[in-house]
């Protein structure tokens, strides 16, 4: 586990250490479908997507949001996330190299709780954003 993040040592602009997946796969999407109960066939049924005019299956947005949340909890610690928001942009395809990161944009105290806020992003290997997000987390 990452060492506990200390409010006084966090600075606005600090980067969230990158979590990189070197090539997401169709089995990743199938595993996420089973784990989440999201059985939209766009993510595992090749015949279905071809009939819809799409070249191949692509990642569930929430699969990618799950990868991003791992980068976040590795940084702020599990149990500290107060708010997590993602906006989906470009799709991710099998073989894509996925980089999850973000940065701290604000520090505040609210109702006696020390909090940090920040932006989050998931990029593919071309540097295109698949997700833009934000978070608020307790930081003791």
């Amino acid at each position: 586990m990452a060492p506990k993040l200390k409010f006084d040592s966090v600075k606005v602009g600090d980067e969230i250490p990158k979590f990189v997946v070197e090539g997401i796969t169709r089995p990743d999407f199938v595993r996420y479908a089973g784990a989440s109960g999201d059985f939209v066939p766009l993510h595992y049924d090749q015949a279905f997507v071809e009939a819809a005019g799409i070249p191949t299956v692509f990642a569930q947005g929430m699969f990618t949001a799950g990868l991003l949340s791992k980068a976040l909890t590795d940084y702020v610690g599990i149990g500290n996330v107060r708010q997590y928001k993602v906006r989906f942009a470009t799709r991710l395809w099998p073989g894509d190299i996925v980089t999850c990161t973000g940065k701290v944009t604000n520090k505040l105290e609210q109702n006696g709780e020390k909090l940090i806020e920040g932006d989050l992003i998931v990029l593919n290997q071309k540097g295109e954003p698949a997700i833009r997000g934000s978070f608020r987390a307790a930081c003791g």
Partner: protein
């Protein structure tokens, strides 16, 4: 079709037990090997229980019945995209808790889009309380109905 009368429409409450097997499966699916999801003794010592991954409440799909949703009448499911997802957490959620979820439509609005034509946004929320009646989380989804089927970019 932005029908404002849909706002506030609620689904029937559903129960969602938080199960360790499901939490482990989900943590693996999002490639998170953090021992707090896998080692109950460590999790109890560090946090007071086995936690859930940040996006785990998405698994409510397994617990919702046909009448648990707020009703999406008028939306064409073939033209729906998941635009945004948000979670807010107010209290810890642990394995062994039984949550009660209530879905509702929080907002409906229209915008002029790009390649998809006019877009309708539907914001739905699920509010979760635990077995002690404490509000623990809200999950908020924004679905977008495009003017036409969106093809691969």
């Amino acid at each position: 079709m932005a029908d404002k009368s849909m706002v506030g429409r609620k689904g029937k409450p559903f129960k969602m037990p938080i199960e360790w097997g499901k939490v482990r499966e989900f943590a693996r699916a999002v490639k998170d090997p953090n021992p707090l999801y896998f080692d109950p003794e460590l999790a109890k010592k560090e946090l007071g229980g086995i936690p859930i991954p940040v996006t785990f409440l998405q698994t409510s799909a397994f617990w919702q019945e046909a009448d648990s949703g707020p009703g999406m009448g008028g939306f064409d499911l073939r033209r729906i995209l998941h635009g945004e997802q948000e979670f807010e957490f107010f209290k810890p959620i642990f394995v062994g808790d039984t949550l009660t979820g209530v879905s509702q439509i929080a907002d409906v609005y229209e915008k002029e889009g790009g390649r998809g034509g006019k877009m309708t946004f539907l914001v739905s929320e699920v509010e979760y309380t635990n077995q002690r009646g404490e509000k623990v989380a809200v999950a908020r989804s924004t679905l977008i109905e495009t003017g036409q089927t969106v093809r691969a970019s």
